[in-house]
Structure formats: C-alpha cells, structure tokens
Symmetry: C2
Amino acid sequence: MGDAGKKDIVLDYSNMMAQAVGSDHGLLQGELDGLKTRASVAHTRLMELKASGKIGFFTQHEMDTTPIKKYAAKVRESYENFVVLGIGGSALGTIALNQAINHNFIPLLTKRKRNGYPRLFVADNIDPDQFEELLKTLDPKKTLFNVISKSGTTAETMSQFMIVFDMLNRRLKGKWKKKVVVTTDPAKGILREVVNEFKLDSFEVPANVGGRFSVFSAVGLLPLACAGIDIDGLMAGAARMAQRCNEPDIMKNPAYLFSSLMYLSDTTRKKPMLVMMPYSSKMYGIADWFRQLWAESLGKRYDLQKKEVHTGQTPIKALGATDQHSQVQLYVEGPNDKAFCFLHVDKFKTTTEIPHVLEDKAELGYLAGHSLNELIKTEMEGTQYALTVHNRPNMVIHLPELSPYTMGQVIYLFEHATAFAGGLYNVDPFDQPGVEFGKNYAYAMMGRKGYEALRAEIKDKLKNIPSRLL
Amino acid sequence: MGDAGKKDIVLDYSNMMAQAVGSDHGLLQGELDGLKTRASVAHTRLMELKASGKIGFFTQHEMDTTPIKKYAAKVRESYENFVVLGIGGSALGTIALNQAINHNFIPLLTKRKRNGYPRLFVADNIDPDQFEELLKTLDPKKTLFNVISKSGTTAETMSQFMIVFDMLNRRLKGKWKKKVVVTTDPAKGILREVVNEFKLDSFEVPANVGGRFSVFSAVGLLPLACAGIDIDGLMAGAARMAQRCNEPDIMKNPAYLFSSLMYLSDTTRKKPMLVMMPYSSKMYGIADWFRQLWAESLGKRYDLQKKEVHTGQTPIKALGATDQHSQVQLYVEGPNDKAFCFLHVDKFKTTTEIPHVLEDKAELGYLAGHSLNELIKTEMEGTQYALTVHNRPNMVIHLPELSPYTMGQVIYLFEHATAFAGGLYNVDPFDQPGVEFGKNYAYAMMGRKGYEALRAEIKDKLKNIPSRLL
C-alpha cells in the first residue's frame, strides 16, 4: 500500500482477552478459534451477497462520484446554506462525517473562511419549535433543500418537505424548483413521482442499499461534497478496508474480529451493552451513527429459522474525556455488563500546548509543558487501565489521523462487521420489521385510509389499561 | 397553586404496571407498597440531610439570585460571547437548559434578534482540534470566559484555563483580568487562590453542593442568566417540585415514585437499562444531564455497609422521534432488558401546520391538515403502544409546556429522585470513588510529584498484558 498503507487503522484488542481481565469476563483464544465454522458460513454468505449485487454497501465505494462533485461545485457558487431533510440513515452518516472532518463552528465563519462552501444543516426531527427556528434563521433564496427518503413514505421527512414546498412556493413562486434536490429510489415511490412531475434535480439511492448502510451513496456523499469534504478520500478509505475485509480468517479480518469479540462478550460473558467511546469530540457523531447500525441490524425478535430469540446487544454512545465526569464511575464500579470500544486519534491536526503559566501552584504545575494532545491520550489510557484492573473488557481502534481516508475505513469496517454479526447472531441484519409496528400506529391514528380496523383495535386495547397519573 | 398549579408536570406510569405489560415485566401495586419501610427510612434520612444543610441541592432554589442577575446585565452590555470552561457537572446542566429554553440557532442570529444577549458556548472537552477551532472563531476582546471547577483541580478545565490565561495575557496584556470570571469553592482550592491573587470576578459553589447537583447554584445560573434565561422561573419551578417532594408516601411523591418504579424494574424485573427519551429535540440535553446524575450517583461498588455490590442501572439517552429510525427496532424486538421514560411537551410554542399540498398523492394526503405537533405526539404514542404490546415497561413525564417553570420542576424531580434511589439501592448517591482511579493514572503518567510509586506499579501491571493488534 505504500504511503497510504501507513494510514491503516489498527485494532488493539489486548484488553478483551482473559490474560488482561480474567476468564470470567475476558475471552480465550480457543473461543475465537471455535467460531471458525460459523464464521466460514457467514463469510461465504456475505461474499455471495457481494458478488450477486444483492447488498450494495460492499461496493458503494466503486461508484462514479463525478456527477456529485459537479453538482456540489454548482451549489458552492450559488448557495449559503444546504439543508438536509432526512432522518435515521438519511441523516446520521452525514452528521457524523461532517462533524469528524470539518471545522466544528462553520456556521459562524465567513464565506471566505469556509472556502466558499455552504453551511450544512441536517433537520432530522420534527420538533415544531426547533424546525421553525431553523426555517426562520435561513434565507430561503440562499438555501438549497435536499429531501432524502428512499421510499418516499417517511412521515417525518415528507411532512418537512410539504412545509418547505409550501413555504418556497409562497415566497419564491415558480423559482422554488431550483431550491430543492431530491435523493430517492431510482424508479419507485412518491418522491420519484414528485421529481418527474416538477422536473426537480435528483440523485438515486440504489435499490440494493438500505438506509443505515447508505452513507456512501448519494444519501451521504451529496451533502458531504457540498460541505466541502473530499468524498474521494472517503471512498479510498472504504476501498482499503473492503480489501482488508476480503480475508476469511477472523483473526486477520478487522471487521470479523470486531464482531466476534463483541458477539462472544454478549453471549458468553453477559455483556449486553457495547459502549462506543471516541476520545475526540469530532467523532461523537460516529458513535451515534454506529448506534443505529448495530441496534437496528441485530435487535431482532426472530432468527433466520423464525425461532423467537430476542437478540441484540445495546450500543451506547459515550464521549471521552467528557464522560469520565459522567459515566466512568458507573463503568468502573457498577455491574460488569458492558464491553467497551474506544476510538483514538493518534495525531490530531493541532498540537495545543499547555503553557508554562501558574506554575507556582503545585496542583497545576504538572500540566505545564504538556499538551492537550498528551492529556486526552493519557486520560483514555487511564480509563482503559481502570476498566482493565476492574476486569471490564475493552478495546481501542486507533486512527493514525482524522481524515477522509481513515473515516472511510471506519465506516466500512463497522458496516461489514455488522453484516457479519448478523451471521453470528443468526439473524437478518438488513431488515427492520419492528419499526413497522409504531409506523402503523401513526398511520391509524393520523387517519390514513385503510387503517380503520387497526385504529379500532388499538383503541380497544388501550381501553383496558388502567390510567395511573401523579 | 392557582394558575401555576396548572403547569405542574405529570407522571403517567400506567405502562410500568403488570396490567399493561404483564407481571413478568410490569410491577404490582403490592410491590410498591412493600417498599414502604425502606422508603420511610430513606425519606427520613433525606429530610435530615435537608434540615441539617449537609446536602445543598434541596434548598438551592431559595438562594438570592440578585448578584447573578446584576452581573448578567453587565455582561449583556459588554460581550458578544460567553464561554464556559467546565466539564461534567459544570457543563451538562447549562447545556441542557440553554438548549431547552433558548432558540437553538442563537449563534447565527444578529445581536438584535437575540435581544442583546451574548452567545453561549460550553467547552466541555479537551479535543485539541475542536478547542482550537473555538478559540480561533471568537474575538477574545468580546468574549468572557467562565472557568468552573469546584475543587480547582479538574485537569481538563484547568488546562483550558491555562491556555486561555496565556492567550489573553499575550493579546490583551493587563486587561485580561476583565475577561475571566471564576466559579469555585468559597474558600478552598487553587482557583480561589487565583481569584484572590489576580482580583478576578468570582462566584461560589457552596461546599454542600456536589458537581452533578450544582446546576441551580452559580455553576449553572450564571451562564444561563447571561444567556438571557429567566433563572427565577427555574427557581420557582424547583420550589414547586421541592414542595411536592416533601411528601413521605411514595405513591404521592413524584420523585419517590419515579425512583421506586425504576429500582424495582432494575432489581426485580431485570431491567439494567433505563432509556430516557424526550420527544423534543430541545430536551435531548436533559437526557444527557440525567445520565450523569443517575450513573454517577448509583453506579457503586460498595453499599453503605461496605459490602461489594456493584449496583447501578445504566441510563441511556435517546431522542424521539429521531431514534425511531435508529433504536426502536432494538427496543421493541431485542431483549426485554430496559425500562423507558419518555419526556413529552404537551404544548409547543409553535404550531407548525402540514399544509394541503401534494394531496393527490395517497401516501402524503393523510398528513395534510395535521401539524408537526400532532405528528410527534402520535409518534410517541405509537412507540409507547409498540413497547407496551411487546411487554416492555414504559412511562411518560408530561410537561404542560417547555418553560423555565417546568424545567425547574424536571431538574429538581430528578435530583431528589436520584438521592432517594441511593436509599433504595443502599449506596451513597453523593460520592464518586471510582473516578479517582483514572485520575490518579493521569497524574502518575503526566509526571505529577508524589505519584512515582503508582507510575511504577502501573507500568509493571501493563507489562504483563500481551499486546494483540490487527
């Protein structure tokens, strides 16, 4: 790999093993070896899904990004603001990568200081007050709205779109069409109909790409390119990790190793929680993106043989060093029911020295001459050490630096790991049947046609629960 | 209570009970009644701590806020930016209440549109890149820095302060002293020394107020008042809830009821996780603030008799409706190992209508004529319904509106509930011994004097763990 090879991310799983935390909580090499048959079956299945093109995330990084980059260049000339209307998989990856790679106070910078790129906003909820505040803050003439929904039926996103559609129509009349770009299914669904009817600009979510695996399609790449991020760098990182993940041996494949460690910790060491804890404010969004991926893919009632199993490890996001002053007390002293994965940036862009001031104070003198970089690194090691001494399994993923190339690796690593974990848990990592339940409730109660019987059934059920208020 | 009485928050715990979710997962009234003896002991202890003044949060809302309001009025005249340097309890409450009550895009508004109040920033981490970005974005002449640490030894905050101290000295020479206001112990510690030596403006954290219970001391009130928030409204809400929490009967005291429900769910129904899920973007920070309170207070190795117990329910923050597209699949179909508490705003400030557009599309027509307000409410009820039908215990705290008065109630409710839960779990809710461990590691490895032996011990211990990298 030459120079790029040096920028590979590295998994340090020393503290997941029995030698570090004891065999009640740590794993034995023999247990990892014991997964080989299952792993081989899971690997074969994934490689089939990849080769057949049934599941798209495996090869998204091979897509031609030229149309997206061209479009982004035009957006840069014309707009001050780029607003994503999207939720879940249509929002989390974009938020995460923008936070990880871009300046974190961009909205406060002048256009020149942000190199002419528009300010990116992601409206991923329907809080009426917050959504109103956003719309009133931005000048609609200078704002491009990117409506993202693969199916076109996502109630939150479509409601936002209807509100924006109406607002733009009233304020800009016929010109509104230039203020909207749609990302949706290539052929099907209501949003594609809207695109065709009004001749709107649009991009495609390939049919073989599910929401939580879609950040490297136009879903994430369009907003990220518009925000000035080097999307080809992301793709190159993903390609590098995809290459590392072709390896069938779980001890040599980073995605398989990650999944195997967490799967065994959950199912054989009673660790139903997985804490994802970057020691980097900029990577907090990655923990949130991962949270959807792991929870929605593995949290399943039925296994592949339709047996009721109720599987799924609960992913928890935490932030170092901040949460040392919030969660670490529980992590170190509470129940030993969690596995931990830290994300560590080996080299930040900045080195922030702690100056030689106030050195006459003994309590501060020891900090002077060090740097924030050393401090945050030492604090992570301190948390690791505290966990390890208290027999709590933990691992670290080291990023040589925080860049599109390393972030591309991280994203692909976790996507492939999640797909593989589906094989270990023996569930379908690509569906989400449980989400339908609440959706149907909303349809019924909002009066959608065809849901009258469900509405009656719900009302009947709720009638039987005694109300208890205080 | 007259009019204010109508603004009481309401706990709806119907779905925590066996009638709603079955007795395998839901509670029986007899079990709540069975807590009465323990509850009475815990109540007596809390009332003693309150009466003796040993624990300060019980009566913080009685403090005289005049000096803070006067100071805030001066800040409003002189500054564009107010930056908190603080972490954990010195940051979380301020972030939460500012987000809940203020406009969420204030930094983008003109000074006139934000009524002349400065923009509030909270620097609660030591990520070198992000901290550098913040400092470079703000004009130091127009910025007031509020350094908050009760002990004055918090490494993260003190490092930030040393960096800011040096930067201000270099750029503003003698004038730097006007750009810093300190909140710390009234008499002890290095920060109080610094205040006295340089004659800095300062406020006090009373000795009887611990970090995670300190938002209604100057720790939270000063930044919040500077950001234009009606702190007397917060105090009035806290006073109202304190009054409700004088009641010894757990069935009539909202704090005791909340704790009892969660304690029984954790210890008798195998719910080691408590998901706090506001259906309001603006209340997401409250879930994060609660997370410290619950985790750090109850996550303990030893009980009051020094027996090793490893207690503590893991608090998890989630956001409705957003996380319906991320976590709800796991919550509904995964292991039944969580209790849920929703936070619901009954009346938002804005009513955002979904307009009658695109009505010819069947998939959208059902939304037209409704509002985002109805949609988010219906979605919460849908999630509740899905959880209840799948036998997962859940409750709702209803806020009549999102205001200082209701937020004051919420804050006090959870503080009092947490203190009471300490009684139920039989642990000290006011200490955090586990945090020392990682701190000492940092001291040793950063070369603080007196920690040489620990440094040697750590190095020796780490030597014995075989390194495993991929």
